[in-house]
């Protein structure tokens, strides 16, 4: 094993070691010990990733096996690493955001009794996510895929006494399992038709797969594979209709909303499809499917962000919508744009979530934006960093989000794949919607009238986190007269460190990532697809792009959204209320999230229970036990009842029966012989 390979191993194992130490010996090493070992583990992973990044830049990639997990038939199951530009970019994003979140957690979870457990979980998550992105085969991908799901489940239900939290985590796990159902079948198809689970070997057989139809169903094989895999991505990356778990996942503590449910885990689906680009490129049907699902998510989830009053839920719907943008990029073969947006989004969305968390700390765990307002005065760092994050999110020129989002929109514009027209409408309208809900939130939280401390007589909150463990009600809020306060440095430092890339990373990386050779040989775009080639032809450097961006529709749409939000929530707050009254049915539709939850609850959850009860009561107890088993017993009993009639104990009856018997026997004997 070379030194470099040892370093590859170190990246996932360091966080794992931290997780195990904090998880198993949390009591012994204490609170400080727990955060030190876990932060150290993640910091080591980040440092190693940086070294690996430089090595990859120098042209050294790696694809090899760590150990053979199992063999069966002609299939070899391995654990191995693929280190290439895509991987190393993900490693940097994951370890950097994770490190920020680790530090932030010291402040956010300061008084929580589950402190060590929390650190253990987030380090375990980091390990799982790294295993996912570093994998060179489908088995390990699935392992990481499920492991991040497990940690997500544990963390959404971290405050396990809240009924809403343990409802949300079960829901998240099960909805993800629906996606995994497709994912597993996709992997199964790959294994069955290529005899391998190794990426490189499978990709090499891509054209072979594209020429085949499936055995029993007769479907085009490659389309079936890609759609099955994408169903997995729909679960993990929360695409309609499997998005329902993500808003509820906000029941978890805010640091994990930032790390898992915004920056990293939910982008696993995007990463996976980008990684599978050699397969997806072979099926236009699958790409169109991806495109339409993504476009729908991008626009319609954005609408929902408008009607939310919980600060975290606004950011959650924004995440859904942005994941939709990434998916759209995948659909138009602009994989590198999807991954680029994944990266910029990871920074600014983690920033927005952590900013929201900082606000929540300042507000003493009140998350309702209607109780906020004017916070800029009290929380200057949170205010400025959140503003920067919001500008990045709406795609303001020169900010990170501008470069990635504009590239996606341009790529959709250039695409000829079926569904591109619809997608273009969705992503353009989505720009307006994004700007509107983002700045609605921004104005409601940081500007306008101070609405805190004068409402709904909340109980006081001495030791609010401890309290939180006991009470299911997590809306505490400020007491009358109490003012919000800026958060401690462990909270604000990550905000600042995330704000920097949120502003500049797009400017510096767009050229190599989208138009350079960075993803050459990793991301594959078929010659029949436009991808980013038209965009590349028009690209004259990031400055020119930003300046040109000032004259394009997306910019003006975004500005329109910002101005409208300002007008509605700063100048004339009566208008939104009036609109709400006038368009009550629309508002009800949005308020109820298009009734997805109720539908699932009644049809799937209720239906399953009904089927279960039916099969149990009618099938098992009624027919099998009632008729067959106990029926047999009754039959035996009945025969016994009858035969008992003959066992009278009266000698003359036996004698009589014997005589008849002998008579019959004799008759037969003489007649037959």
């Amino acid at each position: 094993m070379t030194d470099m390979q040892k370093l590859y191993l170190l990246v996932p194992l360091a966080p794992l070691a931290g997780a195990l130490l904090a998880g198993l010996f949390g009591k012994a090493i204490g609170r400080a010990g727990s955060h030190i070992v876990t932060i150290l583990g993640v910091a080591v992973a980040l440092a190693a990733s940086v070294v690996i990044f430089q090595d990859v830049q120098a042209g050294n990639t790696f694809n090899g096996t760590v150990y053979t997990w199992m063999k069966s038939g002609n299939l070899t199951f391995e654990v191995g690493f693929l280190i290439d530009p895509l991987t190393v970019m993900m490693m940097l994003v994951v370890t950097f955001v994770s490190l920020m979140v680790h530090i932030y957690t010291i402040g956010y979870m300061h008084d929580d009794p589950g402190y060590q457990r929390f650190f253990s979980y987030i380090s375990l998550f980091t390990f799982s996510m790294l295993m996912l992105v570093m994998s060179n085969n489908f088995l390990q991908l699935f392992f990481g895929w499920e492991a991040v799901g497990l940690v997500s489940y544990l963390l959404i239900g971290f405050w396990y006494e809240r009924p809403t939290a343990i409802y949300a985590n079960l829901k998240a796990f099960l909805v993800n399992r629906v996606g995994d159902f497709g994912f597993l079948l996709g992997i199964g198809l790959i294994a069955a038709y290529t005899g391998s689970l190794n990426y490189a070997e499978v990709f090499a057989k891509g054209s072979e797969l594209a020429a085949q139809d499936m055995a029993v169903t007769g479907w085009p094989l490659i389309t079936a594979i890609c759609i099955c895999l994408f169903i997995g991505a729909m679960g993990k990356s929360a695409q309609v209709p499997l998005h329902v778990w993500l808003p509820d996942s906000m029941e978890g503590p805010t640091p994990i909303s930032a790390l898992i449910h915004a920056a990293t885990m939910v982008t696993a689906g995007i990463f996976m499809v980008a990684r599978m680009s050699p397969l997806f490129e072979l099926s236009d049907v699958a790409l169109s499917f991806v495109l339409v699902i993504g476009a729908t998510t991008a626009l319609f989830m954005g609408f929902l962000g408008i009607v939310q009053n919980d600060i975290k839920r606004v950011v959650a719907y924004s995440t859904l919508s942005q994941l939709g943008y990434m998916t759209v990029a995948l659909g138009v073969s602009a994989y590198s744009a999807a991954v680029f947006h994944l990266m910029t989004h990871a920074f600014f969305k983690a920033l927005l979530f952590l900013g929201a968390g900082s606000v929540i700390i300042g507000m003493h765990h009140d998350q309702d934006m209607r109780n906020m307002g004017g916070l800029w005065k009290y929380m200057p760092i949170t205010w400025i960093t959140s503003l920067l994050g919001s500008l990045a999110l709406i795609g303001f020129p020169f900010f990170a989000g501008f470069y990635s989002k504009d590239s996606i929109i341009e790529a959709v514009h250039a695409s000829h794949i079926p569904g591109a027209g619809y997608a273009l409408f969705c992503v353009l309208a989505g720009v307006f919607v994004t700007a509107f809900y983002s700045f609605r939130m921004y104005f409601l939280v940081f500007h306008g009238k101070e609405r805190f401390g004068n409402n709904h007589g909340h109980h006081d909150h001495e030791g609010d986190h401890d309290d939180e463990e006991v009470s299911a009600d997590h809306h505490h809020g400020l007491a009358p007269g109490q003012k919000p306060h800026e958060s401690p440095w462990v909270v604000t430092l990550p905000l600042v460190l995330l704000a920097v890339p949120s502003v500049v990373i797009g400017f510096f990386t767009i050229e190599p990532m989208l138009f350079g050779n960075w993803f050459k040989g990793v991301i594959h775009v078929g010659s029949n697809h436009v991808g980013l080639s038209e965009l590349a032809a028009q690209f004259h450097g990031p400055v020119a792009m930003a300046l040109h961006g000032l004259q394009t529709a997306p910019f003006w749409l975004a500005m329109g959204g910002v101005v409208l939000a300002w007008f509605f929530y700063m100048v004339r707050p009566d208008i939104p209320a009036a609109i709400q009254r006038t368009f009550r049915p629309v508002h009800a539709l949005l308020e109820n999230k298009y009734f997805f939850d109720r539908f699932n609850e009644i049809v799937f959850a209720g239906g399953s229970r009904l089927i279960g009860k039916g099969l149990w009561k009618a099938g098992d107890q009624g027919i099998i036990d009632g008729v067959a088993v106990n029926g047999t017993a009754r039959l035996v009993g009945w025969v016994a009842q009858i035969s008992r009639l003959f066992q009278t104990g009266h000698l003359y009856q036996y004698a009589f029966a014997m005589i008849i018997g002998v008579f019959i026997l004799l008759t037969f004997w003489f007649n037959l012989v």
């Binding site: 038939g73 499920e146 492991a147 099960l174 069955a192 029993v216 279960g612 149990w616 088993v629």
Partner: protein
């Protein structure tokens, strides 16, 4: 070392040791009975280790073979041997026996010697089943193993134990009578041989094959249990003491499945091929139908019992697709299910010992008072739901891979377990472990002690070790599985 009769030791040490434990008599000597049982269980396990370490994985023939004439007049022999399919079950069985002795250590306070003896004797008999190569020897072990389990349920069981014990006994006994007839028929056809290996080579006409297949099917399907002859299992589990449930789930259910591999497939391959669609259909019904039924159970033990049936559906599914991945997946699933379902029943036992109720609604918020227990229970619940990294994943994964090779729709139906298994397991977990402390009894619960920590910890290590590195487990079986599949593919007509 190959001269040592390891298989005989694996069979007779527990049986004779069990009799010795029985001789300690009344409960005055309970501590002695416990220690002695542990010693016997440990020695019984240690003698099986060479079976694994000295096993020649490159050979598909029967290893560690022993041959002694038993009833020469009918050519019945004491013929033992293991191949890559059966060797793992001997180890699993001997291993689980240790866990069962530990689990009953404090919980059983009455008739301790008899309880321990029953399990030890049962363990020896089950090793006999997995290593017998003579039809009658197999049958004797197969039937004899019913008796200790029947007694365990009937004596140490719950309120309705007599009903459950009789249901269990009659159900399984009726099934195996037909098998005896099939064995006798094969004896005649084979020109007076009870050797299973001879029967593997015996040409048989299709009608005979079909009848024999059905006779075996009824015997083994009841044991597995397959739908629709499964209803004895939930009753038996609910009434059985924890140790009984563990052995029932971890070992007894494997006997039927093992029977398919040792008898049905190689002896009547043509009938097996012909009946495969039906077997696959029954397996899928078990996976889906039982998955739904498990969802609505209100009794934890019943829920896990139904989940066992559903998981065993994967095993029979893997057998009858006749491909390597599916069949090996089924074998892995059997081993894993031994660990996972055993552990699930132990977890429920831990709760039951404290609360004396198995009703899910009587719990809630257990994690608050029993955090260590909750962590173990979470691991096993996740293994039960087939999470990668645990042993529960591998079998399901491989069987689904095998199913895709076989027929996409079969795979589609089988993969629903990903959703159903997670739904019933985690929904139960949520209601029992999470939430606010349900009542004052839960509030007073004590977390697991050292002994409970030990047996749950050992099983947790097994579940994780197998999940992270299944290579050693699966290497053993390749040659035998390939040989079996090659054999099944050749017509005997």
């Amino acid at each position: 070392m190959t001269g040592m009769p390891f298989l005989s030791l694996a069979i007779w040490i527990p049986i004779l040791g069990g009799l010795l434990v029985l001789a300690t008599g009344s409960d005055r000597n309970a501590p002695l009975a416990r220690s002695l049982s542990m010693l016997v269980a440990l020695v019984g396990f240690v003698v099986t280790i060479p079976l694994f370490t000295q096993f020649d994985a490159s050979s598909s023939s029967m290893q560690f073979a022993e041959f002694l004439p038993w009833i020469p007049r009918f050519n019945i022999n004491y013929h033992l041997g293991v191949d890559g399919i059966s060797v793992l079950f001997v180890l699993l069985n001997s291993f689980i026996t240790i866990i069962v002795v530990m689990a009953g250590w404090q919980v059983i306070q009455e008739k301790v010697a008899q309880y321990m003896a029953a399990f030890l004797i049962m363990s020896g008999l089950m090793n006999g089943i997995f290593s017998a190569l003579d039809g009658i020897l197999f049958y004797v072990f197969f039937e004899a193993s019913l008796i200790p389990l029947y007694l365990v349920i009937g004596i140490w069981g719950g309120a309705n134990r007599v009903y459950a014990a009789i249901k269990f006994f009659l159900y399984t006994l009726l099934g195996s009578l037909l098998m005896l007839i099939a064995l006798l028929y094969l004896f005649m056809e084979a020109g007076g041989s009870f050797s299973i290996l001879d029967w593997h080579k015996l040409p048989l006409a299709m009608p005979a094959q079909t009848l024999i297949f059905w006779a075996f099917l009824i015997a083994f399907a009841v044991k597995v249990p397959m739908w629709p002859v499964h209803t004895w299992l939930p009753d038996a589990h609910v009434e059985a003491p924890t140790g009984g449930s563990v052995v029932l789930a971890a070992i007894a259910l494997k006997l039927g499945a093992y029977g398919f591999l040792r008898f049905s497939l190689p002896i009547v391959p043509d009938a097996s091929q012909a009946m495969a669609p039906m077997m696959i259909a029954l397996s899928l019904i078990a996976v889906i139908y039982i998955g739904f039924v498990a969802l609505v159970q209100t009794d934890m033990k019943k829920l896990v019992a139904y989940s066992s049936i559903s998981h065993m559906g994967f095993v029979t599914l893997g057998f009858f697709m006749f491909n390597v991945v599916g069949l090996e997946g089924a074998l892995v699933q059997m081993i894993s299910h031994g660990f996972v379902s055993g552990a699930m029943f132990l977890c429920i036992g831990v709760l039951y010992d404290r609360m004396h109720t198995r009703n899910i609604a009587d719990y809630g918020g257990v994690v608050k008072t029993m955090p260590k227990f909750a962590a173990f229970f979470m691991l096993f619940a996740m293994a039960n739901a087939g999470l990668p990294g645990t042993s529960g994943f591998i079998g399901e994964f491989m069987v689904v891979l095998g199913a895709v090779q076989f027929n996409f729709w079969v795979a589609f139906a089988a993969a629903t377990t990903l959703i159903l298994g997670a739904a019933y397991t985690l929904w139960m977990y949520k209601r029992v472990v999470f939430g606010v402390v349900g009542n004052s009894h839960v509030a007073e619960l004590e977390d697991i002690g050292g002994r409970e920590f030990a047996f749950l910890g050992i099983l947790a290590l097994c579940v994780l070790a197998m999940g992270l590195y299944p290579f050693p487990f699966t290497e053993v079986m390749h040659t035998s599985v390939n040989e079996l599949l090659r054999h099944v593919a050749v017509s005997k007509l």
